[in-house]
């Protein structure tokens, strides 16, 4: 039976959120310290939620697997955060940000949620500036902006190429204040391994102390999951090594529906794979596409020559370069959304024009030479030099690039040993973000009462494709400005509940299940490492549930993953014991969850007989190779219900998406 009530408020789109807030129940300040809230994950969404809730007066317990909350992978976000401030006066507005995001999501997101996001975006920037976040500024002393993919305005605020880091440090600073006051109890090096549900409500978690191995019981009146995305199911992704789906997956198994798992974002500009020992993929920020032009050689012999080292990029004259995104999409050029850019790169490399000399010959150029000369000329002119030499122009241009993107260029050089100021960067698409996630209603509550999900871990705002610089926006909107209000509405019923006891049968059972799973892995007499299974899963996922999917491949993937999972339980070897720090054991429980999720992702991709955003089915494309949606039959959210160990038994429920304020159109960036 479906439990999907999105609770979208009635009324005009621009009034929904304010009307909804006005009618939410409150918890009086003097009652808040009778209420305990658990927050799992301390990235932008979790960190900002924990800090805000603690400041409001609730008792907060926050958990993260790293040694400090400021290590969450939000810290690696590079390029920027969107907000509808219209500081540039280029005709931006709340409506336009709302529209761009819905279109960018290929008309598969909830209108009301996205509009709320656009409304709150401006507050986020004000908040961060007040916290002291050192955003880039122009010479007038005002905040600077740049453009990101899929938009024709400059609305992205940034701090060089380290925006996520600065925003997270802002939220972390706010958390530190509350930790120092004793309002947040911080549990570093702890991992949530199960949710505890009592009388149908989320009332706590079972967590493992990763240093001592102790299994701990923690209770609360509500639980917030902000544990990030599941890109690591592909093994190679831009995620951190420890990023995992476990918190989201465990609540899924306890009754939280999982929505649109097949919507995965593959980011077009990442450093290509160098070898079989590769442990992760490194992102090169989308902001680089403001200045870089993407190309491959027009002639296939040139591509071969470059791969074999006989020619270099600068040996290819301008006329022989195929700036294929500019060619195919004149209106947006290199700044098309990520899914469009990624498929563009794949198309050219599949046709044999790739320029990287690795196993798969996959790589395209991201070239800054045009921008270096253009900006160099502009700077020279501004300095009064109206007739600069080419050498002067080049020098000034490189300095300009360094000011804008310095750390990104340095990072590229360290990893590849090539100098991107002299030769174009080589890039290729890589798994980066997951639009799918735990299903939540308008209050960010899952189908388990009292279990809220914020940030990338939930599914709600980005539809089938996320626009660049929107993840930071969503994480902070959820944590600072949505959850604190909506969670109060739920908690208003708990002001007289009192502390939730941890010695109930539900806690006993959950703890036992966790210990049983751990003991299984420790005692299993296998001979293959966890990583070897993870890599194999990653290959199946990338090849068959990756950038281009088809029915045959998806059916094979479902079968192969189920077989791999069986082999995993038979043959995985976890050295060491459970009552000590044991990274292999940590990996084993995470990979076990990835095995199940991978199968569900393939199942979700199989039922969605259309192409939209990051989900591309080869059978459903236009003549020009663009995604072909089927709005009549697939304008819904696929929310999956767990039905036991056999993932094939999961049942999909549909939340129909109604568009009242935006007209569904073909998503064109030409």
């Amino acid at each position: 039976m479906s439990k999907l009530d999105s609770k979208i408020p009635a009324g005009d789109i621009s009034q929904k959120w304010s009307n909804h807030k006005a009618h939410l129940n409150l918890v009086a300040p003097n009652n808040r310290d009778r209420i305990e809230i658990i927050v799992v994950g301390t990235g932008l969404a979790g960190g900002s939620a924990a800090a805000t809730l603690a400041e409001l007066g609730y008792k907060v317990k926050a958990f993260c697997y790293q040694d400090s909350p400021r290590r969450a992978h939000s810290i690696a976000a590079q390029g920027g955060i969107n907000a509808a401030k219209n500081y540039k006066g280029d005709n931006d507005s709340i409506y336009r940000l709302f529209y761009d995001t819905v279109k960018g999501g290929d008309y598969r997101s909830r209108e009301a949620n996205v509009h709320r996001l656009a409304e709150e975006s401006a507050n986020i920037i004000d908040q961060c500036v007040a916290q002291g976040v050192p955003f880039a500024r122009d010479y007038g002393g005002y905040l600077d902006n740049r453009s990101f993919g899929g938009v024709q305005v400059s609305r992205t605020f940034y701090a060089k190429g380290q925006t996520g880091q600065q925003l997270l440090l802002g939220a972390y600073s706010a958390m530190n204040h509350q930790i120092g006051l004793g309002r947040i109890q911080m549990y570093n090096r702890h991992e949530m391994l199960d949710l505890v549900v009592v009388d149908g409500k989320a009332r706590g978690i079972i967590a493992r102390n990763l240093v001592t191995g102790e299994i701990e019981r923690h209770s609360a009146h509500a639980v917030v999951i902000a544990s990030g995305g599941y890109g690591n199911v592909y093994f190679l992704s831009t995620n951190a090594m420890g990023s995992n789906v476990t918190a989201s997956w465990k609540i899924h198994k306890k009754g939280a529906y999982f929505a649109n798992p097949c919507y995965v974002q593959i980011h077009p500009t990442c450093i290509p794979v160098h070898g079989t020992n590769q442990s992760k993929l490194t992102l090169m920020s989308e902001s680089l596409r403001n200045s870089g032009r993407i190309w491959v050689p027009k002639n296939i012999e040139d591509a071969v020559a470059i791969r074999e080292g006989r020619k270099k990029a600068k040996d290819i004259p301008e006329a022989d370069r195929d700036y294929y995104l500019e060619r195919r999409y004149p209106a947006f050029g290199n700044l098309v959304p990520r899914d469009v850019a990624s498929r563009g790169a794949k198309e050219r490399c599949d046709a044999g024009f790739g320029i990287e000399n690795n196993d798969t010959k996959e790589g395209v150029f991201l070239d800054f030479s045009t921008e270096i000369m253009k900006k160099g000329r502009e700077v020279a002119y501004a300095n009064g030099n109206h007739n600069p030499s080419d050498a002067e122009v080049e020098q000034l241009g490189k300095k300009w690039i360094e000011d804008k993107y310095g750390n990104l260029f340095q990072m590229y050089q360290k990893i590849t040993d090539e100098n991107p100021y002299e030769t174009p960067m080589k890039i290729y698409p890589a798994v980066h973000y997951t639009m799918g996630g735990v299903w939540v209603d308008y209050n960010l509550m899952s189908t388990i009462p009292g279990c809220f999900v914020a940030g990338e871990a939930n599914f709600s705002d980005h539809g089938a494709n996320r626009l660049g610089a929107s993840a930071l926006m969503q994480g902070l909107a959820d944590g600072y400005f949505v959850l604190p209000y909506t969670i109060a509405d739920y908690l208003a019923a708990d002001i007289r509940t009192g502390k939730i006891p941890t010695d109930s049968p539900e806690f006993d059972q959950a703890e036992k299940a966790v210990k049983d799973q751990i003991n299984f892995f420790i005692n299993n007499k296998g001979n293959r490492s966890v990583d070897s299974f993870h890599k194999e899963l990653g290959h199946i996922m990338w090849n068959k549930v990756g950038m281009a999917r088809n029915e045959k491949g998806l059916r094979e993937a479902i079968k192969e993953i189920a077989e791999l999972r069986e082999e995993f339980y038979k043959n995985v070897f976890v050295p060491g014991t459970a009552d000590e720090l044991n990274p292999e054991l940590e990996k084993a429980t995470r990979v076990a969850d990835f095995m199940e999720l991978g199968q569900l992702m393939a199942m979700d991709a199989l039922q969605r007989n259309e192409s939209c955003g990051g989900h591309f089915r080869e059978e459903y494309q236009t003549e020009e190779g663009e995604a072909l949606r089927d709005d009549e039959n697939f304008t819904f959210v696929g929310a999956w219900e767990y039905r036991g160990e056999d993932i094939n038994q999961e049942v999909m429920h549909k939340e129909e998406l109604k568009y009242e304020f935006i007209e569904l159109k073909a998503r064109s960036y030409k």
Binding site: I75, Q127, A174, G275, E580
Partner: protein, 164 residues
């Protein structure tokens, strides 16, 4: 520079837990690609150890792209190794020669006791921050428009450089 494979000898600090004594152990690792990062090389060592039924070396790491601050090794007596302006995860094996012996230790500081092998406890640093190293502004968002107080570009740039 094209990649090649090198053979190295590693001397690594092993320590069972915070109460154990610990000592340096020697390992030989062959066929390490110079394109690999230092941590990928340690992954390769660990895969070998697991195959031999031994316990892998525990070390802190997460983002592997030089931004989170989790990784923390002393390599040949220098924090984060021989290169400048990077963290351990950004160090690549092309900085080492074929046949080289590499010393790998955890952070050496009384304030950061060893938890296991190469992992240390840095919570003392967090405690310092929690005792006043933060901006004490509320997170209500009901504040002035972000452009109300212009900040000179140079100040903003310097603030960014200081924060990273």
């Amino acid at each position: 520079m094209a990649s090649k494979n090198i053979n190295i000898t590693l001397k690594i600090w092993r320590q069972k837990n915070s109460k154990a004594k610990g000592q340096m152990e020697t390992y030989k690792l062959n066929n390490v690609s110079t394109d690999s990062s230092f941590l990928e090389m340690l992954d390769q060592l660990n895969e070998q150890l697991i195959e031999e039924g031994k316990e892998p070396v525990a070390f802190d790491h997460d983002c592997r792209e030089g931004i989170c601050g989790m990784c923390s090794l002393y390599i040949n007596g220098r924090p984060h190794g021989p290169d400048r302006g990077i963290t351990t995860c950004q160090l690549h094996m092309r900085m080492f020669k074929d046949g080289e012996t590499i010393y790998v230790e955890p952070w050496r500081s009384v304030a950061f006791p060893v938890i296991k092998d190469l992992i240390v406890d840095r919570s003392s640093f967090d405690r310092i921050q929690q005792s006043g190293g933060f901006v004490s502004i509320n997170t209500s968002g009901n504040t002035i428009d972000a452009n109300s107080l212009p900040v000179p570009k140079k100040d903003a740039d310097d603030a960014f450089d200081a924060a990273t």
